[in-house]
């Protein structure tokens, strides 16, 4: 009947109504109830169907501009007010050989009239710009889905390059799908014939033609895309106009051609969102803003020392744009110098940050140890990617947790904070800064490639809602010697937080020396005394163990016997899977950790409340290992390390199996 509902369970239960009586998905999906018109019988006015949600995947060659196309569609969708979630997926090579499978770049977008959690498991619509894009993506596309193909590319050589002996457009292999063959290249060149562009130049706008077509299909607002194109190509106005023309031509093509008989409406998701002002935001952008906001709330200058690395570089790029906020960005000669400079700035009284990914963390480890010893505030942002070694630079993974926890010599505890969604990267960054500043410690912020590049709507916070992060630098002596002399002791701690004073250079009378050699408690002088070392090791640990973190919330409306516990970016897929289970009447409790070190105080008690604890992770069980070690619970791992986020359906099945096991 329709291809638009390929996995109905996710939308079946809005988050706000846990446990409510929910009709089966089919009864609630208006697209399934809509009158079915045969376009041939229509009077010329095209049919419009209402949908609750759609998943679109744009796929093409790395040079086809699929990420830009996806970004624009996302932007249109965000400004329309749908809830949305995106999954860009691109190769590590800047330009792999054209037309090959490794060169395929794609962008998946899930948008809906209600609250959604993931970029979706399987596309309802695949836009394939060439045979490689079709071949690389077809396995993910469920039967009955729509496929828009650029027929111009389905010629002998491009097909042979990816091993199509016969054309899939003609040999019947796509019979189970609703294929729209569109000569995108020809149509684009035709639309631009008056621009005097070379064939090659004109061809480049074919992604905008496709965007125009999809924008028509889904009633997207177009104004912003047109102004975006004019701004992007401000220096080449004729290229700007060519792109706008191709974009409009794509729209008009949808409107006029008979092949596209139906267009779809997905209403704004107003009910899914609390009141407020919203924007679309990616994880790396939210994280950058969180850092700027934290510095402003702490009334400290922000200093980033960084070395470019995928997928973290966007944060360096973003922060370097905001020098008018007093933000200093330093692109160092290597990862070690990046964190070194940040630590130097921290000594000088800045809110200091270094951004990297797993391989960079490995290089920074010694300096992180020094920061532990110096007890200075420092944020280490790790945008995790597939490992080990260079691994999968553009793919996601959660396999740096144990590296963040333990990847240093000696006993060197570091707090670990992990955002759960792209938008949550803002709050997580502010929270990580709070911990660093309050406890004078390096803090790990563990995001990942999925959160970094994915985007979703974000309720823009009011500045007055942000926490006050101001700190008090040391200004004078803090200790009286036996003879009554007033002195400054750099390692005399706050009895509450165990934080040491932050005495920045330039403060008269507080001149002191700190270093990586063990220090005497209080004075901070070099000390090799065995009892003092034991005391210092235990005190540094106690300081981290005592960090105030909120208790873990558990969502358990039905008194389930099984708990699913996640951390970081698996929040979306786990929550979507939990909704599916509950819709099917399978009770399951869910909790999600933001603080991995220290754990929330109630975590042990929560774990013991359940007969079974399942821990899905995009690694081989790192959180489960920590839980088993600390709480002696039989935590069951469910793991995936394929560089992609979990799919909700697959996770739901796995959870069900684990429950019934």
């Amino acid at each position: 009947m329709t291809s638009q509902v390929s996995s109905p369970a996710e939308q079946a239960e809005p988050a706000e109504q846990p446990g409510g009586v929910v009709p089966p998905a089919a009864e609630r999906d208006p697209s399934l109830l809509a009158p079915r018109l045969d376009p041939a019988e229509g009077s010329g006015a095209k049919e419009v169907r209402k949908l609750e949600r759609v998943i679109i995947r744009f796929a093409g060659d790395s040079g086809d501009g699929m990420q830009l196309t996806g970004d624009r569609f996302t932007s249109e969708t965000a400004s329309f007010g749908n809830d949305l979630s995106t999954l860009p997926n691109f190769p590590a090579e800047i330009r792999a050989p054209a037309g090959t499978l490794p060169g395929v770049s794609s962008f998946q977008l899930h948008f809906a009239d209600h609250d959604i959690l993931t970029p979706g498991d399987a596309p309802d619509v695949l836009v394939a710009m060439n045979p490689a894009a079709l071949k690389a993506n077809i396995a993910d596309v469920p039967r009955g889905a729509e496929i828009i193909v650029n027929t111009d590319e389905f010629t002998k050589r491009p097909m042979a390059k990816v091993g199509y002996a016969t054309s899939p457009l003609e040999d019947g292999s796509l019979d189970a799908y609703r294929v729209h063959p569109v000569p995108l290249t020809t149509l684009t060149i035709e639309a631009l014939k008056d621009f005097g562009l070379s064939r090659k130049e004109a061809e480049r706008s074919k992604n905008m033609f496709a965007l125009g077509l999809l924008s028509w299909m889904y009633h997207r607002p177009t104004q912003n895309t047109e102004s975006f194109l004019r701004k992007k190509f401000a220096k080449k106005p004729e290229i700007a106009e060519a792109n706008v023309t191709a974009f409009r031509a794509g729209w008009n093509f949808g409107e006029t051609t008979e092949d596209f008989a139906v267009s779809y409406e997905v209403a704004p998701a107003s009910a899914a969102f609390p009141m407020g002002t919203y924007r679309n935001i990616s994880g790396n952008l939210a994280l950058s803003y969180g850092l700027i906001a934290a510095a402003r709330q702490a009334d400290l200058p922000l200093y980033l020392g960084s070395y470019p690395i995928t997928p973290a570089s966007d944060i360096l790029h973003e922060l370097s744009k905001h020098k008018n906020f007093g933000v200093r960005t330093f692109q160092a000669e290597d990862e070690i110098a990046g964190i070194g400079a940040a630590l130097g700035a921290a000594f000088g009284g800045a809110l200091a940050v270094t951004t990297t990914s797993g391989p960079g963390v490995a290089l920074k480890s010694e300096t992180i140890g020094l920061a532990v010893s110096l007890e200075l505030p420092l944020l280490i942002v790790d945008i995790q990617r597939g490992g080990p070694s260079t691994g999968l630079p553009t793919k996601t993974e959660q396999a740096d947790l144990l590296q963040a926890m333990y990847g240093r010599n000696g006993e060197a505890p570091v707090p670990v904070v992990a955002p759960r969604t792209a938008a949550d990267c803002f709050d997580a960054a502010v929270d990580a800064a709070r911990i660093a500043l309050t406890y004078r410690t390096p803090v790990f912020l563990l995001s990942d490639g999925y959160l970094a590049n994915g985007s979703e709507p974000w309720r823009v916070p009011e500045v007055h809602e942000l926490p006050d992060l101001r700190v008090q630098f040391a200004t004078g002596p803090n200790h009286e010697l036996a003879d009554g002399t007033e002195v400054f002791w750099p390692y005399k701690r706050d009895p509450e937080t165990l934080a040491r004073p932050w005495a920045v250079p330039g403060t008269p009378g507080l001149e002191h020396r700190i270093g990586g050699i063990e220090k005497q408690d209080g004075t901070g002088n070099i000390s090799y005394d065995p009892a003092n070392h034991e005391f210092m090791v235990r005190t540094r640990q106690a300081k981290i163990d005592g960090i105030a973190v909120p208790d873990l919330d558990v969502d358990d409306p039905h008194g389930a016997k099984t708990l699913v516990l996640g951390w970081g970016s698996t929040y979306g897929p786990i929550t979507a899977a939990v909704r599916r289970l509950r819709t099917e009447g399978v009770p399951i409790a869910q909790a999600h950790l933001r603080h991995l070190n220290p754990f929330p105080k109630n975590l042990g008690e929560v774990l013991k409340r359940y007969d079974k604890v399942i821990v899905p992770e995009m690694n081989l069980g790192q959180l489960a290992t920590l839980l088993r070690a600390k709480y002696l619970v039989d935590a069951h791992s469910y793991n995936q390390v394929n560089g992609m986020p979990f799919k909700a359906e697959q996770l739901a099945t796995a959870l069900k199996e684990a429950i019934n096991d």
Binding site: N280, Y303, P505, E511
Partner: protein
């Protein structure tokens, strides 16, 4: 006061050497050259007249890197090789500080070589004191990147195979704007070089030949022994002909055929051709050629003094200027406007 120090607050009262001595017991081996350098630095600091709370010494790892503990200023004893990186973060975020790096031949040229060359090319406002004793002291006597070829040490019982670095050549090659060499035992010369380094805007690299009397004793004897030194040491002074040797009988001239420098006996015929030292010239060519005069084995014809002292834009100043320009162009950052961005929509209850 020069450009380099104009943003650093001045001391309110007159200072003495004692103001710069910390309460920590100095723990280098008796007879170590580091004592002389420490005394020279502590003795010279009051001359600068800077508020001592605005002076920071940052070091890496090695014998010399214990230095900050003995200075009654702010200080950080960091990790092996990383002092220039850490100091760069401090200096670029705090223009009101006078930041000094203390390092050794292993720390600066081996494990930390990358940070050293990049600090030099950026011209960050750092004064780098490189104590070169041509040996690893703290790990008890392995050869270093400045040890002569064939050096017999614990790790090279049959002699080392590595060709050494010449730190002055390396620094000039890395675009350093100020490069000098001095000797631990020559307090007057050392102090004079430190003064010029302190006043230099940008990165100043000072190589200090320092005797390790435990693992490499006498490494610089050729330059210290009164008789030998006459023939071995070439004292560079800006604006003066480069002459040395007993009764100044030797000099440095440029070979017309190759353009290279060489040492000659001064005669009435060639006297007018003796090279006049110009430390301020923009081209590094002659400074580099001077740095190549010394024989790495015998140390004969070792120039000391300021090889190069040229002005070029200072990284921290440029960084601060960009921040100011950004405010001029875009106005002071408005957090609410930033978070809101351009494409928002409103959900009403």
């Amino acid at each position: 006061m020069t450009e380099a120090l104009k943003l650093v607050p001045k001391a309110e009262a007159k200072q003495s050497m004692k103001d710069f001595k910390s309460d920590q017991e100095v723990r280098w081996c008796p007879g170590c050259g580091d004592y002389a350098i420490l005394a020279a630095v502590q003795g010279f600091m009051p001359e600068l007249g800077l508020a001592k709370e605005n002076i920071v010494f940052v070091s890496g790892i090695g014998c010399s890197s214990r230095f900050p503990y003995y200075m009654n200023t702010y200080g950080m004893h960091s990790i092996h090789g990383r002092a220039p990186a850490i100091a760069t973060g401090l200096a670029t975020s705090r223009q009101d500080l006078s930041v000094w790096v203390v390092t050794g031949d292993g720390d600066a040229l081996s494990i930390g070589g990358n940070h050293l060359i990049h600090a030099l090319r950026r011209n960050v406002n750092l004064k780098i004191l490189l104590f070169n004793n041509r040996i690893y002291g703290l790990t008890k006597g392995q050869y270093s990147p400045t040890s002569e070829v064939g050096k017999i040490t614990k790790s090279t019982p049959m002699g080392s195979l590595d060709a050494p670095f010449n730190p002055v050549s390396l620094a000039i090659g890395a675009e350093a704007s100020f490069v000098a060499r001095t000797v631990d035992s020559d307090r007057k010369h050392l102090t004079d070089v430190l003064r010029q380094a302190a006043e230099h805007p940008g990165t100043a690299l000072v190589e200090i030949y320092q005797n390790c009397n435990i693992f490499n004793d006498g490494a610089f004897e050729a330059l210290k022994d009164k008789e030998q030194a006459q023939e071995a040491v070439i004292r560079l002074e800006h604006g003066h002909p480069i002459r040395f040797g007993t009764d100044n009988t030797k000099g440095v001239i440029r070979d017309r055929a190759t353009g290279d420098l060489r040492v000659v006996e001064v005669t009435p015929e060639n006297e007018a051709d003796i090279l006049v030292h110009d430390a301020h010239t923009a081209s590094p060519t002659t400074a580099f050629a001077l740095s190549r005069l010394a024989d790495p084995d015998t140390l004969h014809h070792t120039p000391i003094g300021v090889f190069r002292s040229t002005e070029r834009p200072v990284y921290d100043t440029l960084m601060a200027d960009q921040l100011e320009t950004a405010v001029e162009q875009k106005g002071k950052g408005d957090l609410a406007a930033l978070l809101g961005g351009n494409d928002t929509w409103t959900v009403v209850g």
